[in-house]
């Protein structure tokens, strides 16, 4: 099955059916002029018009910014522990951009590999992802530089393509086909002409994204360039605000701490950022990454060197460009990678 051609009514009808089946539907909505992902209660609430990238990536639906691990209560001289109730409802992540869907696939590699994280795994198993191919690129986009595409399939169960008045919906996994389910029996199979238009759109958007692909061998080049003096120049601009990590669809670092009192409370995990000074600070006061340049270097190297070297070359960056757009001092991670790798490669040739 190459896909179906849906009218807007078909699409909203399908979403309404998913909602009435009890699924949680997490979709883009407009809020104060920004697009954000929210659980919606009606298909009409979903906003697909002129949606570029959401302010935050949809990873929150799988890896919440704050998550209870367990609660504790002191009872006399005993401690009672309780785990949060395991969710059971299915959830559909709808109309996420292909870069963000790829971000979820990177999170899978962090949380489901060697010794899976049960909280993440449980949510992941109950989640289906419908991506929405990009109709255009924004200035900060660079998915094609890191192995992605405006119509990339990585991390998607189904993909939706906007064809003006109509929608092309393509199943990419068995889970995706199952999600289309009975509704798909009423949909028209996509004609070749629709598939061709989708392909044209992909090529046009790809062509509009500037810059070449980050060469795979740069992962090793960067690892050897750990002591390159350019890290100092680049990293001393970093303000340690952490926005890059918070908006990143693939950043997975977290802190663990207790919220509450000595009598009762909750142990939580909370998103964290390697650019924060406290991130590696020992109790003794010793800090292995004592300056901001060392912390910025860690961020870049984890995504473009350490992770790909351990994961068959896949970068832990999906090119969504949020960090580039929102960095208050204009640090551009792709530019940093190019600068250091080119300098290191140049000095190796010399």
């Amino acid at each position: 099955m190459d896909g179906w051609l849906l009218s807007d009514g078909d699409l909203r009808g399908w979403l309404a059916a998913l909602l009435s089946s009890g699924s949680r539907l997490i979709a883009p909505v407009e809020e104060d002029g920004l697009t954000v992902f929210r659980a919606v209660a009606s298909a009409e609430a979903v906003s697909l018009d002129g949606y570029g990238t959401s302010r935050w990536s949809p990873k929150e639906a799988l890896f919440p910014s704050t998550e209870a691990l367990f609660s504790y209560r002191l009872e006399g001289n005993d401690v009672a522990l309780a785990t949060p109730p395991a969710g059971e409802e299915e959830q559909v992540l709808f109309a996420v951009r292909p870069c963000d869907a790829a971000g979820l696939a990177r999170l899978d590699e962090m949380f489901l590999a060697d010794g899976e994280d049960s909280l993440y795994a449980s949510r992941r198993a109950r989640t289906a992802t419908v991506s929405l191919a990009c109709e255009s690129a924004r200035p900060e986009c660079f998915c094609t530089a890191v192995g992605g595409s405006p119509a990339g399939a990585d991390g998607s169960d189904l993909q939706l393509v906007s064809l003006g008045e109509e929608w092309l919906l393509r199943p990419l996994t068995e889970k995706g086909a199952a999600l289309a389910g009975a509704a798909s029996e009423r949909w028209a199979p996509a004609p070749d002409e629709a598939l061709a238009r989708a392909e044209e759109q992909r090529l046009a958007v790809e062509a509009s994204i500037g810059g070449g692909a980050v060469p795979g061998e740069w992962a090793s080049v960067l690892e050897s360039a750990f002591a390159n003096p350019l890290w100092q120049q680049l990293g001393e601009r970093c303000l340690s605000c952490g926005i890059c990590a918070y908006v990143c669809p693939s950043c997975s670092c977290f802190d663990v701490g207790d919220e509450g009192s000595a009598f009762c409370g909750t142990r939580c995990r909370i998103w964290d950022s390697c650019t924060f000074a406290q991130f590696t600070r020992h109790a003794s006061g010793h800090n292995p990454r004592s300056g901001q340049p060392a912390r910025y270097r860690q961020r870049v190297l984890h995504k473009f060197s350490y992770f790909p070297l351990e994961h068959e070359g896949r970068f832990m960056c999906v090119g969504c460009g949020r960090c580039v757009k929102l960095c208050p001092v204009g640090l551009d991670i792709r530019h940093s990678v190019e600068l250091v790798a080119a300098d290191a490669a140049g000095s190796a040739d010399a």
Binding site: L69, F70, N77, V79, L81, F226, D255, G257, A283, Y306
Partner: protein, 280 residues
């Protein structure tokens, strides 16, 4: 590991005994509230665990008792932050959370028959305690043992009673030292920094394994001294003590380059250490 499929849920233990090592270092013996958990707990010397004071948080310490002394766990910690301060405030019978063991361990099987040196500086002595105690519990399986322990002052020396017991064991030599100015009336040990005292011991490198744990600055100069004395990097083993939050390779806090300390460490040879980026 823990029940309910949630790896972050600790087992409950109670403080069975507490021992003051120094004014700010304490050793706790923890027994499991569910006896089955304690009796079935398996670990290897060098592995660590995450210890919880409910309401304060979680800290990472090495499991200080060797697997040759099963059924309970011991930790030796220095009061330095929020959790260790709260932990020091607990007394016998109170509840401490435990999850673990995590990480790799010292290759004690490979070291059978070899001469061993255990060097611990300050609270770093806690990190060499488990393999050292294991070796002494299996005395016949190993060669000569030298223990070199140092601290800033006499008051900061840990395991005082145990050191005396160890010194009485056959083919065990215990040397204690304090930093210049840290001696007290009646002190009959060495005075000097650990790397200098180590050099004065005149140990031949041949066939010997040196386990060395301590603050970063001590480690730095010990590695230089060991190299100068002709110890190959493969003969020198230490532990990395980075800040950790999850213990299972997920949270992103403890890596040194591609080496994820909680998963690939904490035990590491000087040879491996030399391949890591200078991110320590």
């Amino acid at each position: 590991m823990s029940g309910n499929g949630n790896g972050f849920l600790p087992h409950l233990t109670r403080i069975a005994a507490a021992r003051e090592e120094t004014p700010d270092v304490r050793t706790l013996r923890l027994e499991f509230v569910e006896p089955d958990v304690g009796s079935s707990l398996e670990w290897r010397a060098g592995q660590f665990a995450c210890f919880t004071v409910f309401g304060a948080g979680e800290s990472v310490f090495t499991i200080a008792n060797p697997p040759s002394r099963p059924g309970y766990v011991e930790c030796t910690f220095k009061e330095l932050g929020k959790v260790t301060e709260a932990l020091r405030g607990l007394s016998s019978g109170q509840v401490v959370g435990f999850r673990g063991p995590y990480g790799n361990s010292f290759p004690l099987e490979e070291w059978q028959g070899r001469d061993l040196v255990f060097v611990g500086g300050g609270i770093g002595m806690a990190a060499v305690a488990a393999p050292l105690r294991f070796v002494l519990d299996r005395r016949a399986d190993f060669g000569d043992v030298v223990v070199l322990n140092g601290a800033r002052t006499v008051a900061d020396l840990v395991f005082k009673d145990e050191m005396d017991e160890w010194a009485r064991i056959e083919r065990v030599r215990v040397v204690r030292t304090v930093d210049p100015g840290g001696e007290a009336p009646g002190w009959n040990g060495e005075v000097g920094l650990i790397p200098d005292v180590f050099e004065r011991l005149g140990l031949e490198p041949e066939g010997r394994i040196v386990v060395v744990c301590g603050p970063p600055i001590m480690l730095h100069f010990m590695l230089i001294a060991l190299d100068k004395l002709g110890f190959a990097p493969e003969q020198v083993v230490t532990t990395l003590e980075n800040r950790m939050k999850c213990g299972v390779g997920e949270c992103g806090h403890c890596n040194v380059g591609r080496f994820v300390v909680c998963r690939d460490g904490p035990v590491i040879t000087a040879a491996q250490l030399a391949t890591l980026p200078a991110d320590m």
